[in-house]
Symmetry: C2
Subunit: 186 residues, 2 copies
């Protein structure tokens, strides 16, 4: 394992309502010095969670939501922030109910993803949801989200769609497919 660089200064450069930028001064083990910036505090300290809601071992539920970054409606998986004092799996189930109108009797933490570990501190927990039942909770969305059912057989077509672009959702779906087919246990 390589020796970690020495971080000899971290300071906040700027912040907005949602984002906080830090500057780091680093000295690598070979003596090289660098000043880096990173996005910190996106999500304000709460755990972020993404849910893969499975109707059976092949079909899953996706939501369709307006995405202000790409300025279009995008297909993705239910996701959100775990609230203060809330258990990760409870938060996952609440987001599932708010965004997709389903609850899950079986919830399993699969892994943790980063978005861009070189530039962002952000981490997201990936939760597999099974044994679903219909239950809707009121969320804070400006309009009802579209709810669509796809299957793993649709993945080759989905990846060609411009309204399905989020790498985390695709990685989570591939991971669920491998997990449910037993490929990750062989």
């Amino acid at each position: 394992m390589k020796k970690l660089p020495d971080i000899h200064d971290i300071r906040e450069v700027t912040r907005s309502a949602l984002f906080r930028v830090e500057q780091l001064k680093l000295r690598f083990s070979n003596g090289a010095e660098r000043t880096y910036e990173r996005l910190a505090g996106f999500g304000q300290g709460h755990q972020a969670v993404m849910v893969i809601p499975m109707l059976d071992d092949n079909r899953f539920v996706m939501i369709e939501e307006y995405a202000a970054g790409t300025e279009d409606y995008q297909l993705s998986l239910p996701k959100g922030l775990v609230e203060a004092g809330e258990d990760l799996l409870d938060g996952a189930n609440r987001e599932l109910k708010e965004e997709a109108g389903y609850g899950a009797r079986k919830l399993e933490h699969l892994t943790e993803f980063t978005l861009s570990p070189n530039y962002m501190t952000h981490r997201m927990q990936i939760v597999l949801a099974q044994d679903l039942y219909e239950e809707r909770l009121e969320g804070d969305e400006p309009e009802p989200l579209g709810v669509h059912v796809f299957s793993f057989d649709d993945l080759p077509e989905l990846i060609t769609r411009p309204d399905f672009s989020e790498a985390r959702a695709l990685a989570a779906l591939y991971l669920a497919r491998d997990t449910l087919s037993g490929r990750n246990h062989s």
Copy 2:
């Protein structure tokens, strides 16, 4: 297809050396109004590219680099920004040579990923690189990157490693596996 919200104001909230935050005022088609923030300009207008370097149809090359966001060494795929006036595939090949010490005789654009389309404008092009040969170009890294060879058979073990967390890299590898096994053409 749903009617897009009306964006009636976009203004810059703050910026740093690397990041730029915008505020958007939106009116949804049902009349609901929201003020959103998004990360814009990460990458400063240049196309971002990630390369999957295949040694054969099963083995691929990963790099090991210090990640300032997670403060550890992370395994990922070679990536970077296409330079002004540079073709996407030429930029992919240059990054491959700088970061992994390989060039590719065959480069193919597979898809475009977003990071977090609700909150970021960022897009990344995913390029499959085959028919590799050894060639190293000098990059601007503070220290030489680790270069490691894995195969698709290692994916179940890789996803359990805390030093392999980047969702884009995992999605790209799954996509390459499906593409090379013909699963995406059936």
